[in-house]
Amino acid sequence: MDESQPNRRGRAKFTDDESDLALLARIARGDRDALRDIYTVYYHPLLRFIYRVTGQLELAQEGVNDVMMVVWRNAEEFARRSSVSTWIMGIAYRKALKLLERSRRWSDRFASVDFDEWIERSDVPAEPSDDGDLRDLLDQALKHLSAEHRAVVELTYFYGCSYEEIAVIAGCPVNTVKTRMFHARAKLRKLLPTLGKDLPST
């Protein structure tokens, strides 16, 4: 880790730590208006992140409220060891994995067909014909990654997190983050051979 750099570089870009800290201090005093404000700021980033990890919109909506309940109950204990957004995304990460586990337990009990396995066997990627198809293809490709790998991909590419910050969010060593990303890239490359030619160049 490069110690010469500021601790919070690469922090999720959708929010500002100073205003988050002020909101958290008000929440710690029981201010529900502050809870509403932080809820509004974090709603879509959390919804997207939990949806990406779980792949289910209903779980994502439930997850956002689970996360915000933890924020409400533990605002006082926030120890400033990371930015507020890293703390909240860490809560979201753990909640998303728990929700996914719970959902899998239920579907294992009732499902007679393993669609994931079926998709896994159909190893010829489809050719996207328009933007909508490309979105679906990318959606499908992401579903082939493990939840932990999807989280690393999403936090890196969408939220602009550094690998150190992802390690804090996921509660794992930095090398694990790099390894997860390495495997996720390899799998996406295999599943999306057409991605390069169908997207605008930079």
């Binding site: 490069d2 529900r32 997207l199 930079t202």
Partner: protein
């Protein structure tokens, strides 16, 4: 001049080089490596395209309002943190017993005192759900999507019908969808509903039900 790094290390760091989160030393080292490594340069382009594609992936735009109302509802009865966080003083067993007994008496006394007033003092909740919300406005539909729908597919459908999520989901998964054009005529709405009912992404589509007609 930065320290040179190995090919595998530079390759490993490319996603974070692309998202701009590397520290100066690592960023410079990767930049230096990229000047002489065709394979990493190609991978850099792929990473940039993947990042653009992922950032363009939509998630359904749902108003935070409904979610917050649910959270606020579940917080009812929760003590505010100021009450929760009052430091506990050490009490010996007698004091603890006395405190519990006194609290019990206070609660019973309070309930007796409040009992005749409860009817008047009841405060209507300020949140609204689809079941007890405002009357449905013209140009609003109630839609239940298939369970397997992805956010991208839902967003795609909403874009096709020029609508957005106004509320929901209810416990049975019903969303209220508001059309961009509220002046759609009855035949236009009927045609849209007929199309939605045949759409494989939709389980149920009706005109928005008013509060009194919710099941």
């Amino acid at each position: 001049m930065s320290q040179p790094i190995t090919h595998s290390r530079a390759f490993e760091l490319l996603p974070w080089f692309v998202n701009g989160s590397l520290g100066a030393a690592e960023r410079d080292a990767v930049e230096q490596h990229l000047r002489s490594c065709l394979s990493c340069h190609r991978e850099l382009k792929e990473q940039q395209r993947l990042r653009i594609a992922l950032r363009a992936q939509p998630v359904v735009h749902i108003s935070p309002q409904t979610g917050f109302e649910k959270l606020a509802h579940s917080l009812e009865g929760e003590p505010v943190l100021a009450e929760r966080s009052a430091p506990a003083r050490p009490l010996n067993a007698f004091l603890r017993f006395a405190a519990v007994a006194a609290a019990g008496l206070l609660v019973v006394g309070g309930l007796l005192w409040l009992a005749p007033l409860r009817q008047d003092a009841r405060v209507e909740p300020t949140y609204e759900t689809l079941g007890r919300g405002p009357q449905a406005a013209r140009g609003e539909l109630d839609v239940v999507f298939v369970q397997s729908i992805t956010a991208a597919q839902m967003q795609g459908l909403l874009e096709e019908i020029h609508g957005s999520i106004a509320a929901g989901p209810t416990e049975v998964g019903r969303y209220r969808v508001r059309l961009d054009d509220p002046s759609a005529s009855d035949p236009q709405l009927d045609a849209l509903l007929a199309a939605l009912q045949k759409d494989p992404r939709v389980r149920l589509a009706t005109r928005a039900l008013s509060a009194g007609t919710e099941p």
